[in-house]
């Protein structure tokens, strides 16, 4: 496949909207994913992630707006789909076909597949390609689609919650494949609600809420959303610490007793540590909230 100039974005959407009778599933979504980026597409269930992806694949027709894959309009699938490979959220295969037959079909009809790499992927994902699709679990069907997608070496991989049925070992293998794809310069559009996974592989994320793209941020910015929860036990009361609340990055300071307090910290911890250094600290416990908690926090903030 001819290499495309880096200046052309892998994926571009302008004012994309989709209305299903009374429901506005995707609302005026504009987005550009540059070539080579691993982009995380986040959102809770029903936010419109899959609908957006189906619009980008030309499976659904937009009510308004347009989108391009490497500058080819998505409606022109014969051209646009030469540049991409797709893994649906719910992989449906013809039940009587074996995994191998599904892979052969996708390779035969698709724009080109690296067969040696495909064999390697089949082994890495532990797929049994001789079995008929009706005997496959959800995870195994997902593996078929993942192997087929990664083996195309398409410049854009569109992955819709591709690990929802995979066990942790296969999830690790999946992350390795994404890393390899990124090293080769492939662009990845990864829809997920697994923040750990997104944080591990993505460089930039977009957050979708009820059909609207409410945030597009680099991972560093996402990390800034992160707050650390600090619990401190003191040996002796330290009245000066009452001023902690005024320090930069400190929120939600709560004194459980005269000798114990908790606070939430966003950003560098230096000022708080300096303040604590002048007191008699018996024990300090620093807990990072899970990414899920941040995600929930974020959605709480947005809805507030």
């Amino acid at each position: 496949m001819a290499l495309l100039p880096a200046a052309v974005p892998a994926l571009r959407a302008e004012n994309l909207s989709k209305r299903f009778s009374t429901t506005l599933a995707v609302d005026d979504l504009s987005l550009t994913v540059p070539t080579g980026e691993v982009f995380g597409f986040l959102g809770p269930n029903g936010a419109g992630k899959s609908t957006t992806i189906r619009l980008l694949l030309g499976l659904l027709r937009p009510t308004h707006g347009a989108a391009w894959i490497f500058d080819d309009p998505v409606a022109d699938v014969a051209r646009a789909h030469r540049h991409l490979a797709y893994v649906p959220a719910d992989v449906a295969l013809w039940p009587a076909f074996t995994g191998q037959e599904c892979l052969d079909l996708l390779a035969g009809v698709g724009p080109g597949t690296d067969l040696a790499y495909r064999d390697e992927l089949v082994a890495r994902f532990g797929l049994e390609p001789g079995r008929r699709a009706r005997t496959y679990s959800t995870g195994n069907r997902q593996k078929v689609a993942l192997v087929a997608a990664f083996a195309t070496r398409a410049p854009l991989l569109v992955l819709d919650e591709p690990t929802s049925g995979l066990d942790p070992l296969m999830e690790r293998e999946f992350r390795r494949c994404i890393a390899e794809a990124a090293e080769r310069g492939q662009t990845v559009f990864l829809s997920s609600h697994k923040l750990v996974e997104v944080e591990a592989v993505c460089s930039r994320v977009g957050i979708l809420r009820t059909g609207r793209l409410v945030e597009v941020a680099g991972l560093e910015e996402l990390r800034r959303l992160r707050r650390t929860e600090v619990t401190v036990d003191l040996s002796r009361p330290a009245p000066r610490l009452r001023g902690l609340a005024d320090l930069p990055g400190v929120t939600d300071l709560r004194w459980a007793s005269g000798l114990q307090f908790t606070l939430s910290l966003v950003g560098p911890p230096g000022p708080v540590l300096r303040a604590l250094g002048e007191t008699d600290v018996a024990r300090i416990d620093v807990r990072e909230p899970s990414l899920e908690e941040i995600f929930l926090d974020y959605y709480g903030e947005v809805s507030a």
Binding site: H81, R82, L84, Y86, P88, T98, L105, V109, R132, A148
Partner: protein, 544 residues
């Protein structure tokens, strides 16, 4: 019960019967529309033919021709034994009995597999079964609903025949046999759904069982030594019961057994298998991948070939029998001029020569070939809803290309299927030395292909504009057109109405030269319908 367990939350006693009722209501929702259509159609068709008889045939037949008719093996094989033709009821049984019973049986078999295996295969049962319903209970209740629905066309036939004033006993027995055919079909469908894990395979097996019953009837009625075969088939029992003639009720017990035995086996088997599995699992692995599955045309051929073989076996067997009967039929009509004239009035034109006989029967071929075409496009629509096309459409494959490739493959399949019928007729006719050449047989069979292509075009049109009704709209040109011509001829409807039927534009090949203008016109209409459908299909949202 100990005091500790007593503190567990208990389901309110008032809802104890709710799951049972819920399952029944769900099944009723799934079957009600089809039941209404088939029931009304059956009742109206039976009553209509009885009325038609009064206006054309009453008193026109002499005892001699009746006896000859009843004795002729060809007539008996094709239309069932002619009994009580001097009576509107008896004539209706002879003319529509087999058609109505086959319609009820096939529809009930398809409904049973759809409601039981189809719902199970889609995974929708898992939610139900996670509740308080056991799998065997679910099968039992759903099958019970389908059985009740399957009996309704028979009830409608009895009511229709009573309303037009035929004898009560005959009407009730006629209705009972049609109801029994429906019940047998539903029970076979329920059984096939327990044996096979895929709905399509189960539907094929169930319909195959029903149609095998039709062949048993044909052989049993045609060959005296094998008359006992009729007892194994609901259609054969129609001749044994002989409504309006012998009015025997005892064979209805055998008919009941034909329905009850498979139904009971189905319910027993339902409790002995895993949910989602069938008792006859195919191999879960394959030795080597199919070389066809490497390209789009290969995929289309792969998808169509098993269906083509199944339909080919059925159509081939039927037309082989038609061929074998060629001389018996023409000899009979030669010897019975009076009946031959009536046959012309009844729509069986030119049965005097073997070519005319073959042409008359080839016009029926349009219905199965058209149904084959519609069912293949319906399978594509089903794949779309099941999400199986999403991966394919993520490749550089335009929808118009996929639909076009599939339509071309199916069109080719129609030609193959018609050729199979033609060659089978020729083989049978050659065996009895009737003088029908292979060229004539093939020409006659291929002559109806434009009607089947109209079905294909209508199915593609539905794929674009009404994807939920592909099968119904697809079979309309053949099945609906056949009925339209029958009604138009009988009621003397204006030529414009009659011309809407594709069969008005099909010549009696090989007796007459082909109607080339009609054929080209139909192919053109089919192409326009198909093109419009594919364009709409390419522009609409993909369903999932």
């Amino acid at each position: 019960m100990t005091s500790r367990t007593a503190t567990r939350p208990q389901a309110p006693a008032a809802t104890a019967s709710a799951p049972a009722r819920g399952v029944v209501l769900l099944a009723v929702r799934l079957v009600r529309r089809g039941t209404l259509v088939v029931t009304v159609l059956s009742g109206v068709l039976a009553a209509f033919v009885a009325v038609q008889y009064r206006s054309t045939f009453q008193g026109a037949l002499t005892t001699g021709s009746l006896t000859a008719l009843a004795d002729n093996p060809a007539i008996r094989t094709l239309f069932g034994p002619a009994r009580a033709l001097d009576d509107a009821g008896g004539f209706t049984v002879w003319r529509t009995g087999t058609v109505l019973a086959v319609l009820a049986g096939v529809w009930a078999a398809l409904t049973a597999t759809r409601v039981t295996r189809g719902e199970e295969e889609s995974g929708r049962w898992d939610l139900l079964l996670a509740g308080r319903v056991r799998a065997a209970t679910l099968v039992r209740r759903q099958l019970a609903v389908v059985l009740v629905a399957a009996a309704l066309p028979g009830v409608a036939v009895a009511i229709g025949m009573l309303l037009v004033g035929t004898v009560t006993t005959g009407a009730l027995l006629f209705g009972a046999v049609v109801a029994g055919a429906g019940l047998t079909g539903a029970a076979c469908g329920g059984l096939a759904a327990q044996l096979l894990a895929e709905r399509r395979a189960a539907s094929g097996l169930a319909v195959g069982l029903v149609l095998a019953g039709l062949l048993l009837r044909m052989v049993g009625d045609g060959v005296d030594a094998l008359g006992w075969l009729r007892w194994l088939s609901p259609f054969g029992l129609l001749s044994t019961v002989a409504p309006y003639a012998d009015d025997r009720a005892a064979p209805l017990l055998v008919l009941a057994a034909l329905a009850v035995v498979p139904a009971v086996i189905a319910v027993v088997l339902a409790g002995r298998r895993d949910v989602g599995a069938g008792l006859l699992g195919g191999r879960d692995t394959a030795r080597s991948p199919s070389p066809l599955l490497r390209s789009l045309p290969g995929l289309c051929v792969h998808r169509v070939r098993r269906a083509l073989v199944t339909w080919g076996v059925g159509v081939g067997a039927y037309f082989l029998l038609i061929g074998l009967l060629a001389t018996a039929m023409t000899d009979f009509l030669e010897a019975n001029r009076q009946f031959a004239e009536l046959a012309v009035e009844a729509g069986f034109d030119e049965l005097f020569t073997v070519q005319g006989y073959a042409a008359s029967l080839f016009s029926l071929l349009a219905v199965p070939v058209g149904a084959f075409a519609a069912s293949r496009i319906a399978a594509s629509a089903a794949d779309e809803v099941a999400g199986r096309l999403a991966l394919l459409y993520s490749l550089p494959v335009r929808r118009a290309r996929w639909a076009g490739t599939e339509a071309a493959t199916v069109a080719l399949g129609c030609v193959v299927l018609a050729s199979v019928a033609g060659l089978a007729t020729w083989a049978g006719a050659a065996w009895v030395g009737s003088g029908l050449t292979s060229g004539e047989a093939l020409a006659g069979a291929l002559n109806v292909v434009p009607v089947a292509l109209l079905c294909l075009g209508a199915a593609l049109f539905a794929l674009g504009y009404a994807p939920g009704a592909v099968l119904a709209i697809g079979v309309l040109p053949a099945a609906g057109g056949y009925l339209l011509l029958l009604f138009a001829d009988t009621f003397g409807w204006p030529e414009a109405a009659r011309a809407l039927s594709p069969f008005a534009h099909v010549a009696s090949v090989p007796a007459d030269p082909p109607d080339l203008v009609g054929a080209v016109g139909m192919v053109a209409v089919a192409a326009v319908l198909g093109f419009a459908g594919v364009v709409a299909y390419a522009r609409r949202d993909l369903r999932e």
